[in-house]
């Protein structure tokens, strides 16, 4: 070992390090302890740790599970779980379009609106930009079962046009972003309206909690696909890593949804009443 690669630490510091790093990163020579600074493994580990610090500043839409990331059985099972919700949404769309042929065009524009909303960069608390899911607001505006059908179409476009998400993971992504998120958002919004909680607070709760549910469900899906020693450990890992980006986004999205609903309530009451929000 060349001397230039070795740094001599004070003994008290070494005893602290001793407990926390593995034995291979330092060695003893003539009774004194030395730490290897240029150790490749240490470098690798420090790089990995610093990545965790860097990632919140990246501009990401991390909630989409990437193409090919899940095993094929998981992809199929998540797809099957989505089917009843989609059929429910399909039936309700068919009923409404049969009543009024204008609904189809209204829904198309709603879908396009959700797509733009999810590709929008929102200024986030950490200083970086991040994409909202947009599904919370969509669910409150258009209803959750319709949102699930619009959601799967939007997710298909996102994978084809923006390379966010994928075709094999479409089922899993649909379940987390277009089914779990919207249904929880809508449920919480309706519940808090019934409990006479003010309009803005219930919109905030609906949008923010819906966003968080999306993130928890995605972590759960990933943890099921990649169990560590057991599922709960890996669930904690995935949630811990996603929390860095998702908590600020959830809060930002909640605030934005409240402000948007405020403006919409003031300016286009007719449309909202048509959509049965208020």
């Amino acid at each position: 070992m060349r001397k230039s690669q070795v740094y001599k630490f004070p003994k008290s510091f070494m005893t602290v390090l001793e407990g926390h790093f593995c034995a291979k990163t330092y060695f003893t020579y003539k009774g004194e302890k030395f730490m290897l600074l240029a150790n490749k493994k240490t470098k690798l580990f420090i790089t990995a740790l610093s990545l965790i610090a860097v990632i919140p500043t990246l501009n990401v839409s991390a909630m989409h599970i990437m193409e090919g990331y899940l095993p094929i059985t998981h992809s199929i099972i998540w797809g099957i779980i989505c089917i009843p919700f989609l059929i429910l949404g399909g039936i309700s769309i068919q009923k409404q379009t049969a009543k009024d042929s204008k609904t189809k065009i209204l829904l198309a524009l709603a879908g396009a609106f959700v797509f733009i909303l999810s590709s929008l960069k929102i200024p986030s608390v950490t200083g970086s930009c991040s994409h909202p899911t947009g599904t919370g607001l969509g669910a409150i505006l258009f209803g959750p079962s319709i949102m699930s059908v619009l959601g799967i179409i939007v997710l298909l476009f996102q994978s084809l046009l923006l390379a966010h998400g994928g075709i094999t993971t479409l089922g899993a992504n649909t379940f987390s972003m277009a089914i779990a998120g919207p249904f929880v958002s809508f449920g919480i919004y309706k519940l808090s309206r019934k409990l006479k909680i003010p309009f803005s607070v219930s919109v905030f709760l609906g949008a923010a909690i819906g966003d968080l549910v999306t993130y928890v469900v995605t972590s759960f899906q990933l943890a099921l696909a990649f169990p560590d020693t057991n599922i709960f450990v890996s669930l904690a890992k995935f949630m811990g890593i996603f929390a860095a980006t998702q908590l600020p986004i959830a809060i930002a999205e909640g605030i934005l949804s409240v402000m948007i609903m405020g403006v919409l309530e003031k300016n286009c009451k007719n449309e909202l009443q048509q959509l049965k929000v208020i």
């Binding site: 926390h20 593995c22 493994k41 580990f45 990995a48 990632i55 990246l58 990437m66 193409e67 090919g68 990331y69 095993p71 094929i72 992809s75 399909g90 769309i93 068919q94 379009t97 042929s101 204008k102 065009i105 209204l106 198309a108 524009l109 879908g111 609106f113 733009i116 909303l117 929008l120 200024p123 608390v125 059908v149 619009l150 179409i153 939007v154 476009f157 994978s159 084809l160 046009l161 923006l162 390379a163 966010h164 994928g166 990933l222 990649f226 560590d228 020693t229 450990v233 904690a236 890992k237 811990g240 890593i241 996603f242 934005l256 402000m259 403006v263 919409l264 300016n267 286009c268 449309e271």
Partner: protein
């Protein structure tokens, strides 16, 4: 939306979409099932070959697009590579936190390498599909499938209006930005709110206008579009068939070899 433009400009855009979709999805499934680094690398190379050599898409653009999924992959792989356990015997490298150990095992490095390449392989298959097939062709396939027609119709309309609304959105954003609308966080929020609520009002108005315009032209609740005529691309079919047979054989061979 650069992918959409590239898809229309590809040499393979006029090829029959059925062949392309079947090819993309089969190779994607083989890549995922095979679970091997070798097959994934072959898939990536083959897809890049088709996109760049047969489809004549710009090589730089394709490589830029390949970096899009990297963010998610870094995120996801970080969680897989670091394992948490109370037993440090298998770990190559670890930190001690109280009674538990955070570290990297041989197995986790191996599984990350496989997941990473497998996912990139599948992504390149998806890129093949989205860089050579215009979305309208995919709709014509979806109409033939079990998906109800009214949903495909809504999807077609959504596709059309994404571009209309995106145009509006970009114009509003540009004019807000040039008036220092995003100078700090507070103004940024205000501008975003104005942008989104205006977009909502515009999209509802657009729906009204579109419906009026369509009814004036005899709209009865369904829009039927003619699909384009497609050709067969011989080099693509030849390459695709040999590729799929080759990779399937390799996968079967690898699986048999492991057992």
């Amino acid at each position: 939306m650069i992918i959409d433009k590239l898809a229309y400009n590809s040499r393979l855009s006029k090829t029959a979409p059925t062949e392309k979709v079947i090819f993309a999805i089969t190779s994607m499934i083989i890549c995922i099932i095979s679970n091997s680094i070798l097959v994934s690398f072959i898939t990536i190379l083959a897809m890049l070959f088709i996109i760049i050599h047969i489809g004549k898409t710009n090589i730089k653009t394709v490589f830029n697009l390949m970096t899009v999924p990297l963010f998610f992959l870094i995120f996801g792989c970080m969680a897989i590579i670091i394992s948490i356990s109370t037993d440090k015997s298998e770990m190559i490298l670890y930190i001690k936190l109280g009674k538990i150990f955070l570290g990297v095992t041989k197995y986790s490095i191996f599984s990350v390498a496989i997941t990473f390449t497998k996912s990139l392989g599948a992504v390149s298959c998806m890129y093949f599909l989205s860089l050579t097939t215009p979305v309208n062709d995919i709709f014509s396939l979806l109409r033939k499938s079990i998906i109800p027609d009214f949903i495909v119709e809504i999807a077609e309309l959504i596709y059309r209006y994404i571009f209309v609304l995106l145009d509006v959105c970009e114009k509003i954003h540009l004019s807000q930005d040039s008036r220092l609308g995003y100078v700090n966080l507070k103004t940024g929020y205000r501008s975003t709110v104005l942008l989104v609520s205006n977009l909502f009002i515009r999209s509802m108005n657009q729906a009204e206008k579109t419906f009026t315009a369509l009814s004036a032209r005899g709209y009865d609740g369904s829009i039927n579009l003619l699909s384009e005529k497609h050709k067969h691309n011989k080099p693509f079919i030849l390459f695709g068939l040999t590729y799929i047979f080759g990779v399937t054989a390799l996968t079967v061979f690898l699986k048999a070899g492991i057992k």
